[in-house]
């Protein structure tokens, strides 16, 4: 069995908010991950990914960000890590 990860960055902390960033790591391929080549997110919202069979395995914590009270923006605030397990051999 191999794990495929889809990491989503959302517009707010709700899973049904729009996806504003995304990252893929695929344990089922030897191709290297690539930055910056995709124009459109794989789904409109995090919930759409869930409905397509991705399992959420981690959410970013809901807590104040360092620097926020000095009006310094952080990076991506709302990260969800999702997985699929594939059983087909490579």
């Amino acid at each position: 069995m191999r794990q495929k990860l889809l990491i989503l960055y959302l517009q707010n902390s709700a899973l049904d908010s729009p996806i504003v960033g995304w990252t893929r790591y695929d344990g089922d391929t030897v191709a290297p991950p690539v930055s910056g080549d995709e124009d459109e997110p794989p789904y409109a919202t995090g919930l759409d990914a869930l409905r397509d069979g991705w399992r959420a395995i981690q959410f970013s914590a809901l807590e104040p960000q360092p620097g926020e009270l000095n009006y310094q923006p952080g990076w991506q605030s709302f990260e969800v890590i999702m997985e699929k397990i594939v059983e087909t051999p490579r």
């Binding site: 990491i7 960055y9 707010n12 995304w22 930055s35 910056g36 310094q72 990076w75």
Partner: protein, 289 residues
């Protein structure tokens, strides 16, 4: 020199970069490639071709008159843009050549150059020069518009592979990017059959960065006039509306803080300490005695 105008300065404050498409004329691109790129196969060979310039060298003293780079940095549009953003007498931080072989499978991770920069206001600029036509397949620099307000060090942001609204550089030979030093960027994979070259120069200011652009059409009083959200423009360029833009990759929580940071940057560049994008920052500064 040809200084930047108000519209270009607004774009720089909003996006953190400017693209000057095809700025170098063809003959200068040819000379550039012949001098610094021809037969180079990797970064090491590319860097070996460049003149050695110690950090702290005034840009005006960095190159011999017969260096192609002297001609490049004498272009009125480039000299004017550098002057507009950094003020006079800027100094060289470093310069480098990046050469990418054809048909690569690997891209750079998203990053900011150098360690995290805690400066409140002053900023460096990075000049990126592409001496050949750049197609999407050649994997030119990826930039995240507006990310200059998000302080990050090196590859701490490497996990972000794709962000909505990201820009993949393309353009004719001689295209130049001018970046705020903190802009998130990466070299994309070169999936073409051509070698890709990119020259980069980082420059430091040596004095105030206020008021060095062409302000002939800038009216500070109109620019700062209280302007409710979504209301008609109070000035020619509608600066408050343009600087309140939400970049598509920004989550709602931090997008508001971006506006505060853009307001601070506009204050630095314009010298107008009373400027506020709508009431975002002025509201936070209201602490009656």
């Amino acid at each position: 020199m040809k200084q930047l105008g108000t519209g270009e300065m607004i774009r720089f404050v909003r996006d953190g970069f400017l693209k000057l498409e095809g700025l170098l004329p063809w003959d200068l691109c040819d000379a550039f490639r012949a001098a610094y790129v021809a037969d180079c196969t990797d970064d090491r060979s590319g860097r070996a071709r460049l003149p050695v310039v110690a950090w702290g060298t005034p840009l005006t003293d960095a190159f011999d008159d017969n260096d192609v780079l002297s001609r490049v940095f004498s272009l009125p549009e480039l000299a004017g843009a550098i002057h507009s953003l950094l003020g006079p007498n800027c100094k060289v931080d470093h310069h480098v050549m990046h050469i990418r072989e054809p048909n690569q499978g690997v891209s750079q991770h998203l990053h900011c150059d150098a360690m995290i920069d805690a400066r409140e206001a002053a900023f460096d600029v990075q000049i990126m020069i592409y001496p050949q036509n750049m197609t999407r397949e050649m994997g030119g620099t990826l930039v995240i518009p507006g990310s200059h307000t998000r302080k990050a060090g090196e590859t701490s942001i490497a996990r972000y592979q794709n962000l909505a609204g990201q820009v993949q550089l393309t353009g004719p030979a001689g295209t130049v990017l001018i970046l705020h030093h903190n802009l998130w960027h990466a070299g994309r994979r070169n999936a073409s059959n051509s070698v890709r070259a990119m020259y980069k120069m980082r420059l430091n200011p040596t004095g105030s960065q206020t008021g060095h652009w062409d302000m002939s059409d800038y009216d500070a009083a109109k620019a700062r006039a209280p302007k409710p959200l979504h209301s008609p423009a109070t000035c020619k360029h509608d600066i408050q509306a343009k600087l309140s833009f939400f970049h598509p990759w920004a989550d709602a929580r931090s997008a508001h803080l971006d506006i505060v940071q853009r307001t601070r940057l506009w204050r630095l560049l314009s010298g107008d300490e009373d400027f506020s994008v709508h009431h975002f920052l002025s509201r936070l500064e209201n602490e009656p005695a």
